[in-house]
Amino acid sequence: MSNRRAAAITLLALAVAVGAATLVALSDHDTSKVATIALAAPLGLVFIGAGLVAARRRPDNRTGTLMILTGFAWFSGALPDANNPLLFSLGSILGAVFFGFLIHLILAFPSGRLSGRGVRALAVGGYVLVAASNLAFMLVDDLVDGCDGCPRNVLLVSRQPGVADAVRVLTVIGAAVLAAGVVTVLVRRWRAATPALRRALTPVFASGGVTLVLAALLVAAQAADVGAAEAVYWLLLVSLMTIPLAFLAGLLRARLATAAVGRLLAETPETPTQAEAQEGLRRALGDPTVELAFWLPERRGYVDTQGRPFAVEENDPRLSTPIALDDEPVALVVHDAALAEEPDLLTGVLAAARLALQKDRLQAQLRARVEDLQRERDFVSTVVNTAPAYFCVLDSAGRIERFNTTLEAMTGMLDDESARGRPFWEVFPVDEEALAARMVIENRGEGIEHAWRAADGGTRIVTWRLTELPENRLLVSGADVTERRRSLDEQAALRRVATLVAEDPEPALLLEAVTREVGLLFGGDTATIFRYTDGRRVTVMGGWSDRGDFVDPGSERVLDGDTAAALVYQTHAPARIDDYGAVEGEFARYLHDQGIRCTIAAPVIVGGALWGAVSASSTQEDRFPSAAEHRLGAFAGLVAQALANADARDELRRAAARIVEAGDAARKQLERNLHDGAQQRLVALSLALRLAQSRLPDDPGRAGEILRNASEELALALEELRELARGLHPAILSDRGLVPALSALAVRSPVPVKLHVLTEERLPESVEVALFYVASEALTNVAKYAEASSTHVRLALVEDTAVIEIEDDGVGGADVEGGSGIRGLRDRVESLDGRLDVNSDPGGGTVVRAEVPVVRAPEPVAAA
């Protein structure tokens, strides 16, 4: 409402008030003019004033307008005091219209609008009742009764006291019904109201309700007794005065919003939780139903104080007011709809909340940034100190400023005054490399590799590089490549040895090469390959020493105490001694006297048996890295392979020689047999024939006798030749196969032979021949040496292996390694990848068993 309109209304109100007061003052029939003017005139002005204030503060609310109209309606109550009959009559009708406005005002509170059909009907009913009842009454009553000097009722049609009484009764009934309806509405509204709304309703409803009740009483009293009506009328006036005061109280409450904001800011903690902030808002707004929800950007939604997703339900009567910062939602305040009636309070409190949230957010951002920095610092610190890399910061002169814990751990140096300020090259690289490191640093050189001193007294190979830092400082970052370098060296050494092994070197050359590689690789002063001779001694087979003295090939040592050699002998596994000073025994003392402090050794195992060991020793204690003895095992394996190769070659040579020898011996035996047997018989036969020839003329009888003897001799000679031929190669074997040949052997054997044939299958000729000779030789030996009563010969084919077994029940105790016969058989069998075993325990008979794999020629493929 504009100032001008407000001023106009104010002037009009004052004019109307003066007019009304004038009417009262000049009235001929008002018996209490002073009281009426004193009480009635201010009441109208108060209504209008309060309405003006309300209309200005709440232009969208009709309550102010209604109050102004109510105030003007009130002044119409002065018309019945007029002496003019027409004004008097009109005023008697309109004098009570004020109550219609009052009912309207109360029913429309606090929005100024009537909501609901029933409520509107009540308001309309109020207007109708106050106007219609007075009009009807004036048509039938002259109004002079009880009023001396009242002007004439111009509306009187006919004085009808009975009808007038009826109108009075009907009016009382209507007023009572109306009052009951209004009270019902108010009670309902009260019961449904939130606490905040109740606080707004309380003064208005209380004063309004009392006023209406008094008004109803007044109507009743006027109908019954005029004296009592007068008293009620004055009470009603007083009561009416409270109505605009109630509205003023509401306005004052709005003014108190600033204080509520102050309380909110003062009582809420500096950094409140969401729940505390919600509680502060509830107190500040006087609304216990307030809910505060925070916006979570990452969820694109609100959450309540418990962190649960928050949404306002559709039928929720409360209002939601969002709080935004920089066009971004921050929070949502859900509050009683009645707080819309206190916009100052609401906006003030929400502005304060907004400020607090903004401050919180700024602080949170600052905290987050500080935490980010802290996290970043922690992260960098963790990375720098746990990375498997060395970091060291140097000043422009190459002096140490600080370094990381990885470098501390490796060197044992602490990042404190003991190292800081000293030149890098005097602290970390080993002495002989310090100058080179200094050159690199002072010339800002490229990445390089140096040995650095380690905490354990050893060295680490470090590849490092320089990075320029601000203020001409330098970052030295290094990677430890010791293990990689060692691994590469080890692989290279293994490759060299393996290549040498493949070249089939002289044993001495191989042993010298292996020990040199081992000694250099593991950092020993000496390395040795020795052989276990009899479990009590070792024989040094070869060695290397960077001193050129200690190793003495061919020398023997006693295998006593817990030396590395003894441990390997006992366990067949790699072993290490880290301090020979603590080891008992003659050999250990000898080593200790030689200056040897520690040794690693690994077994050389050839053909499944422990042959010897490779060892490396040092004059320094704890010289060998952990597990070095196991890595040494790879070299021992190569030595074993070389020895196995040599053994296999030797065995091959020996077998070839034996085969040649066996052939020679067989031929010699054959010649001998021929010479001693058939040849002698044929010689004798030749001489006998000549003798018979010379005797024939003189002594035919003697000649005949000689010829008969000669014939017998010839038969014997033929038999011996057949026997010899069989010995050369059993014809039945090639003609009929192994099984018939074995049967023939059995038949000829002087010791009874039981033949068990589990396969009739023909085998490759070489296999059949080998098995036949095994059986033949074994049966010959049984006949010659076993003193057996029976022999069993078993022939079987087990999968792809032919097996023959000759078992006797003789005296046993045969030479299982065999004389030349068994050795020849073994060579023959092994040349077919088979094996020959002889078991002959004394008194337990003898079992000769041969197994030969059967490799068949591939099946011929049918021509397409």
Binding site: S686, L687, R695
Partner: protein, 117 residues
């Protein structure tokens, strides 16, 4: 006068046959021995004109034994015999001091007489 012969051979069958053949052809077989040791003793005792000596004796090599028997100016005639054929080793036979070699199957009086003549 028939020549006296000592037969040195470890095969009894040969000794019997040789004695029968030689005696039927006019030789006087004065003794038989089966080894080298006995041969040396019998040569000394019997002083045979001819020693029929097997090349292969259990205890001696015929060539060596021939050399020994014919050394020191002995006039004994040693004829080597064997069932093996040594006729293609004339130098060996000559060096041993033997008069010659006869394969056992070809032994006969005339052959022996031809060698010692």
């Amino acid at each position: 006068m028939p020549s006296t012969v000592l037969i040195v051979d470890d095969h009894a069958g040969f000794r019997a046959n040789a004695r029968a053949v030689l005696e039927s052809e006019g030789f006087d077989v004065v003794g038989e021995v089966a080894n080298g040791t006995d041969a040396v003793a019998e040569v000394a005792r019997l002083s045979p004109q001819i020693v029929l000596l097997d090349v292969q004796l259990p205890d001696a090599d015929g060539f060596e034994l021939a050399e020994r028997l014919t050394s020191n100016g002995s006039r004994v005639n040693v004829v080597l015999v064997s069932s093996r054929d040594y006729s293609d080793l004339p130098r060996l036979i000559e060096r041993s001091g033997a008069r010659g070699f006869v394969p056992k199957a070809e032994l006969s009086g005339p052959r022996l007489a031809a060698l010692v003549a």
